[in-house]
Amino acid sequence: MEFNPVLIVPELYQLLLIVALLLQSLGGGPNRPGGTETPPAERWLPYFAGFGVFVNIVSWGAEGLIFGGAYKLDALSQFFKLAISAGFYVAVLNAARQSTLTERKRPDYFMLLAISAWGLMILSSAVELITIYIALEISSYSLYAVIPLRAFGGKGDPRAAEAGIKYILFGAVATAIALFGFSYILASQNTSYIAQLAQRSWSFQAQPMAVVGLSLFMGGMFYKLALFPFHFWCPDVYQGASNETASFVATLPKLGAVVVLVRLAALLKPGLEITTLLAVLGAISMTYGNLCALAQTDVKRLLGFSSVAHAGYVMVGLVAGTAMGLSAAAFYALAYVCMNLLCFWVISRVATDGRNLQLDDLNGLYRRAPALAFALAVGAFALVGLPPTIGFAGKLFLAMAAWNHGYNWLVITLGVNSAIAIFYYLSLVRHAYTHEAGENPPVPDNSPFSVCGAGLLTAVVLLFGIAPAGLFDYAVRAGQQLLP
């Protein structure tokens, strides 16, 4: 197919942002001559990132297969690109008021975030395993550099450095495993294109090497998604990284991982060994994540274990082996990102001094910041899966897609886990609403900026919970392209 640059306008636009940020980071800060003339990155970037969402909406209908069949634009990729650009916009807004980041490092910081988002955009269109691998690395490498960027008393925060090292070591191992798995796939199936792989057999009996290879390759995605047993980095990194960085790491990369898994899951039918493996990992992941989260007192660590659990929930849709299942998984990933962005927005706004919030720091939040407390309650209830939030809609769709496709036990595990999860999500609300503030509570940001952001995200979480039909329609269209 002929290459038409119009098809990849969102990626090009994101690249333009990266170049602009790179130039600004080369130009030095306001202390150098001429440095005061350019506005700081956090001033102009939000507008341009917001425009990026618009660009993605405009290029919504793009369809085609370019770059030698390695890069596909379809409903699924555009759905996820829009979600990534919207998430990037919120993450940039969120990070614009970061207190633990020195002025000098800001252009670099935002550049790295932008590169990571760019990598994820490529990931959502990649349909060839090498391309997927490269896109995965682009999005990961920039995050390795971002995580340690957290100032603490004038110098780097040792916890953030620790988190960075954990993330990089774990990431390196996981991607090495993925690459190793890729070699097996290539050796046994003789192709790296997903479209051709879809026509091959994936049963262990016929292609043992390919099945092992695919399982290992998926390991790379599991690492991004923080699925058991690739989850160990997750709570530590959330805790060590600054609140704003964590809000990026916790949300967007999951979208990238889910889109690849959705494409790969199209290869699988229920009953295959590898599908069962996914189901078992999903079940362990949700149970383990929820049980660990019960004991946490650090809010970010709690959300870290909750994301391990949510990675397990996504598997419920992937193992169904139907178009509805894939769309439900895509929808749930989006729902998860919305809910988590909301929770992290509140955390970042409450901890204006950049501290790690403990549950006790939330005490009496309803009095100090009623709007933020309400937003936190909505976010927490959405993560539980209470109606009428997007979390409930997502969970319902997952369960309905998976029921009667051979994994009913997984659906029941999902139900049991939701019941376990209530306690710790509720304790967020409990501390915010029923406890009175102790000594030295963090001073929340009640500016219109903070309240509007929280209000907007709350509205999204509630609106798509009450009327998910429109959004879900797009997800269904994406799923049906993969599994007609």
């Binding site: 309905m400 029921w403 009913n408 029923t434 998910p468 879900f472």
Partner: protein, 519 residues
């Protein structure tokens, strides 16, 4: 029937709109008056419901597509089983506002917000004709109730509210799984359509267990009742009133609406267990109530006992039993709601719920004790009051089914008389009297106590109109139930199929093992 506006939707939406309007109000006094006005307006919106026709069909139905891809509909309607519950919910709201007029002094706006939100969710639960919509309202009502207990409750409010929330939500997660299973197996979320579908016994078995757990926790049935005394004792009196009058009914409503029509064979299979547990609730609740020193806890345990009569009536599967259950649901709402309001009133005077701190009021608060005596008698089931009608019907149903069941619940009534008289005697004539300086009921208190009293006598002396409302639906429910279980019994009474076809079925069954096993 067309009234120019969707009656049930407006009953659900109006409280929400009114609740949003609360945030424009500054003064607590205005907020109270505003909410009271809104609750009266809500009653007026409900007036068209009086045109209810005495037939078994769903009436005032509304339907709109919600998420067409998954077949979710926004479908509402009432029949004889839900009608009285909707009316009860509407009637309780103004009483709740009145009884917390001086009781609640902090965060008044938010308190009334919770009350209005709660009403909306409760009406939604009783009128939903779509399983998911039902579940949405079922869960939505947890949050305001949680806040009512956790923010305005007593000393141990955090413990009580957490226990309430965890218990109920844990139960309802299984309900969600059952709902999904119904959709995938039955092909629809619509309750009236599912009532006409027949499910395999294996499926019914698991579906019944999942649903019954959720409903049994909500009722609550022994041994899932432990959250109830904690929640009742810690809740503010308006919270207790809603909890007793409306929330507990949702569990028994669930049994009537879902378990009996959707899983009839499993209901028959589990009926002995459910009857045994109901009898245990009656005897255990009564015996424990006898030993309480806290008035509110005593009434809470009496709720366990009364709800035991309701579940017993339901699982007798005869017309009298189900009628009795519905009457008992209504009566318990009226009487226990009133008792909780009275406890709230006396708490405002003595600041204690201990019996020993509220003794000897007969001489100093005659009006108060008069009402208390009336509701205590109604609670026992004294002839002439509404309690008599409900208990009488359950007794008739029980003896019809099996005299031993009837014999077993007789001590329950004796127990309820014992604990109710014990506390009433102490409150009226106990010495030393603590009530010397207390004032008797004021006009506001008289108003909210007279309303239930009217219903106590009305239902007790002329229950005909209520029978007219519930009978067609109850007869249809029990009739359908009998015919559907009879079909299965005839089928199982058929001679065994020839061996060859048996093998064929076995092969077919192995071919579909993953499906069959999990059904």
């Amino acid at each position: 029937m067309d009234f120019g506006y969707p009656v049930l939707t407006s009953l659900i939406v109006f409280p929400l709109v009114a609740a949003a309007g609360l945030f424009l109000i500054k003064s607590p006094q205005v907020a109270r008056t505003y909410t009271f006005g809104a609750s009266i307006l809500e009653l007026i919106f409900g007036l068209p419901l009086l045109r209810y026709r005495f037939i078994a069909d769903f009436q005032f139905t509304e339907k709109a597509a919600w998420v067409p891809q998954w077949g979710l509909n926004y479908a509402l309607g009432v029949d004889g089983i839900s009608y009285l519950m909707v009316m009860l919910t509407l009637a309780i709201l103004p009483l709740c506002v009145l009884c917390s007029w001086t009781y609640i002094s902090k965060r008044v706006k938010e308190f009334h917000f919770c009350l209005l939100f709660m009403t909306s969710a409760c009406v939604g639960v009783f009128t939903s004709l779509d399983l998911v919509l039902f579940y949405v309202f079922w869960e939505a009502m947890l949050i305001p109730m949680y806040l009512l207990i956790a923010v305005w409750g007593g000393d141990q409010r955090r413990y009580a509210s957490l226990k309430f929330f965890l218990y109920t939500l844990a139960g309802s997660m299984f309900l969600l799984v059952a709902i999904v299973a119904f959709r995938v197996t039955g092909g629809t979320f619509s309750i009236p359509e599912l009532m006409r579908t027949h499910f395999s016994f294996d499926f019914q078995f698991w579906a019944f267990l999942a649903m019954a757990l959720a409903f049994a926790i909500k009722v609550p049935m022994f041994p899932f009742h432990t959250w109830l005394p904690a929640a009742h004792v810690q809740a503010p009196s308006a919270g207790s009133v809603i909890l007793a009058a409306v929330l507990l009914k949702m569990g028994t409503y669930g049994f009537l609406r879902f378990c009996l029509p959707l899983t009839p064979d499993a209901s028959v299979y589990f009926a002995p267990l459910m009857i045994a547990v109901s009898i245990a609730s009656i005897l255990y609740g009564g015996a424990i109530a006898l030993g309480q020193t806290d008035i509110k806890k005593l009434v809470a345990y009496s709720s366990v006992e009364h709800m035991g009569f309701v579940t017993l009536g339901i699982f007798l599967f005869n017309v009298r039993g189900v009628e009795g259950a519905l009457f008992q649901m209504l009566n318990h709402g009226v009487v226990t709601g009133a008792l909780f309001m009275m406890i709230g009133a006396v708490y405002e005077r003595s600041h204690s719920r201990e019996i020993s701190a509220n003794m000897g009021m007969g001489k100093y608060l005659p009006a108060f004790m008069g009402f208390w005596g009336l509701y205590a008698l109604a609670s026992i089931g004294f002839p002439g009051t509404n309690g008599f009608v409900g208990e009488m019907l359950v007794f008739v149903g029980a003896f019809q089914k099996n005299p031993y069941i009837g014999a077993l619940i007789v001590p329950g009534v004796l127990l309820s008389a014992a604990y109710m008289f014990r506390v009433t005697i102490k409150m009226a004539w106990g010495t030393p009297s603590t009530a010397r300086l207390w004032r008797d009921l004021n006009t506001r208190e008289l108003v909210y106590l007279v309303v239930p009293a009217v219903f106590v006598f009305y239902i007790g002396l002329a229950p005909k109109v209520f029978f007219n409302v519930i009978d067609p639906s109850v007869e249809k429910l029990v009739g359908d139930f009998a015919s559907r279980t009879a079909v299965v019994q005839t089928a199982s009474a058929q001679p065994a199929p020839p061996a060859l076809s048996g093998v064929a079925t076995a092969v077919a069954a192995t071919a579909q093992t993953p499906v069959a096993v999990n059904n």
